[in-house]
Symmetry: C2
Subunit: 367 residues, 2 copies
């Protein structure tokens, strides 16, 4: 599989939903496979909150491959022998596309809090502009989960016939207070950590020992990505062997897992990016910019697949089913299909239980 | 209704499950109504993590009455014209019973981290000793929810025929990793807050502006006490009117609620107590000290009522049903009854939706 990682710079302003502009801006993206002569075999993969453009393959010396490597590759469900797959780091993120720690032109100083709030619509708009530059005026498919699913849905509403197939997984039509509450814990933990210094931190300070605010908040995030059942299976009530049950700081395995992942994450993910991206998730509402959810959905011309996981406790099946129901009720039943995956893994199932939906995806996009 | 608040001091050591001792120790408790001459009308109410002995009635100048005031009082489900109701602040708590900020005899210095880990079994043992001192050698009933439900269950196992009726609500037989994970977020947020000073804080410092570590952690707690449905109903996607949607720190109502409650709580609840009590919850396992859960439950002689709430996402109905199933399977079906309350409120339903179970309780204990 041919992997190419590139950065494109755009000097025309990106007009944001808020009315503010981003100028200039950069997008980092990765491609797998080759674009055919007709430019008709491109598939866009959209990533989630902490994801990046590195969706598949393995860089030299890298321990883990891209976040959806099980799905994307030669002979896999998204077959890179047949398709030209593109994944773009969203604006606001910290993997190379313009975000809060990018220099605020013409200065060399980072934006920090001067960075504008960006929305899922803005993320999608930037990707559409990148596709233009690449000479791609039609997508074979868009596929994404969680915030990636929001992008897929937003793409389908704003650019109705740009993609032939749209597969949105583990997402929603509008973020519920339940999810906003989980994000609030992280945001508050970040902002109130003295080492955050009102956004004026030096990222190098976190690279070694991590950043408590983000680590603690991320632990709350991890809860929302799993389910009680998956935690039972993963950890049960197992205690760290060397710890005493009656030691105040003796640990259950689940506690060690949260620490390990929380602090690890905080060493490499930028806290300002975390604030901006969770904000984008919180204010995601497919109906915004349209008269109603119904009107927004009426615009869709792509064939739309909504995949939910039964014990997803972050974006629940009923939310995706609602989209299908609304479309069905207004005569768009032909366009939409709702598929509920049997699972008790939780939200992260879209990253983990690939075997449960990869055949479905292969069927939709063609092998 | 006659309310009496008292403190008792015990100079004999309390032998803890850990092997350590507490000596001396104090218990603060509150009573409602009058003990009859036969001393046969006493009902013990056991409180939850952040609860206290102040279960009912209203002190002079107090804005809110006791935490179960809707249930306990003259003519209410737990009728104080008929019953003598007692609620004891658990050891480890911060409302007057001996806890980590109590002086460590013979010094006048607080224990802080030298306080021993206490368990639900220890809490119950101390209450049993208090009842002895009060000359009560039989309870008409024990009623409690959440950690209070754990105490009720533990009481039933350790003192099998001490109470005639036992009503345990919204609890479990052993705390699952899901709950431990939520507690971990709070514990980590407390311990890593620089103002915690490794436990050497001055509580007065938190009284004014609160204590971020506990506040942030408590926000995660609040998520676990509610449900997505109750948040939809309470807050929906309503935004604070004066805030802009595209302001990074613009707030949804649910965010304001979490801030208000998180910081408010952190002004008056002691962070060390929070660490110790969540530890007690984490290591709660009804089978500990017995060969198995089956053997523990076999000891029960009280009639046991298990009440769960359908959308309790902290202690789930299946966990309480499991207790009933085990008892049923080993021929104790006559003793146990499982009652699932229709509710989508979440864990806090036991504090809020009293109308859904107060008749049930009145039926069990008699009006």
């Amino acid at each position: 599989m041919k992997i190419v990682t590139k950065k494109e710079t755009f000097t025309n302003p990106l007009y944001l939903e808020s009315g503010r502009i981003l100028e200039p801006y950069e997008l980092v993206y990765e491609t797998y496979g080759e674009l055919n002569d007709e430019r008709s075999n491109a598939i866009l993969i959209t990533h989630a909150l902490s994801g990046s453009h590195h969706a598949a393959g393995r860089y030299e010396g890298e321990r883990k491959p891209g976040w959806w490597d099980g799905l994307i590759g030669d002979g896999k469900a998204v077959d890179t022998k047949k398709f030209f797959v593109i994944c773009v780091n969203v604006i606001g993120s910290c993997y190379g596309s313009t975000g809060p720690m990018s220099p605020m032109y013409p200065s060399l100083e980072p934006y920090r809090f001067r960075f504008p709030v960006v929305t899922v619509k803005d993320m999608v708009k930037a990707q559409r502009i990148l596709l233009d530059r690449l000479g791609i005026d039609r997508l074979h498919a868009i596929i994404g989960g969680s915030m990636g699913g929001m992008q897929a849905l937003r793409f389908a509403v704003e650019y109705p016939s740009f993609a032939r197939h749209t597969i949105a997984m583990a997402a929603t039509y509008a973020t519920r207070p339940w999810v906003i509450a989980f994000n609030k814990v992280v945001q508050e933990a970040i902002v109130k950590d003295p080492r955050f210094q009102n956004g004026n931190y030096d990222p190098k300070d976190f690279a070694e020992e991590g950043f408590t605010g983000l680590a603690v908040g991320r632990m709350a995030g991890h809860i929302s990505y799993l389910s009680p059942e998956s935690m039972d299976r993963k950890f049960g009530r197992a205690y760290v062997e060397t710890d005493g049950l009656f030691e105040l700081f003796g640990k259950f395995q689940v506690e060690r897992y949260l620490e390990y992942n929380g602090y690890g994450f905080s060493k490499w993910f930028d806290p300002l990016s975390y604030l901006y991206i969770t904000k984008a998730i919180n204010i995601f509402d497919l109906s915004r910019g349209h008269d109603s959810l119904e009107e927004a959905l009426k615009r869709i011309r792509t064939d739309l697949h909504l995949i939910s996981f039964q014990r997803d406790l972050l974006f629940m099946p009923e939310e995706m089913r609602h989209i299908a129901d609304v479309m069905g009720a207004q005569g768009q039943g032909e366009l939409v299909r709702y598929y509920e995956v049997e699972s008790d893994y939780g939200h992260d199932a879209f990253l983990v239980e690939l075997e449960k939906f990869s055949d479905y995806i292969a069927d939709v996009i063609g092998k």
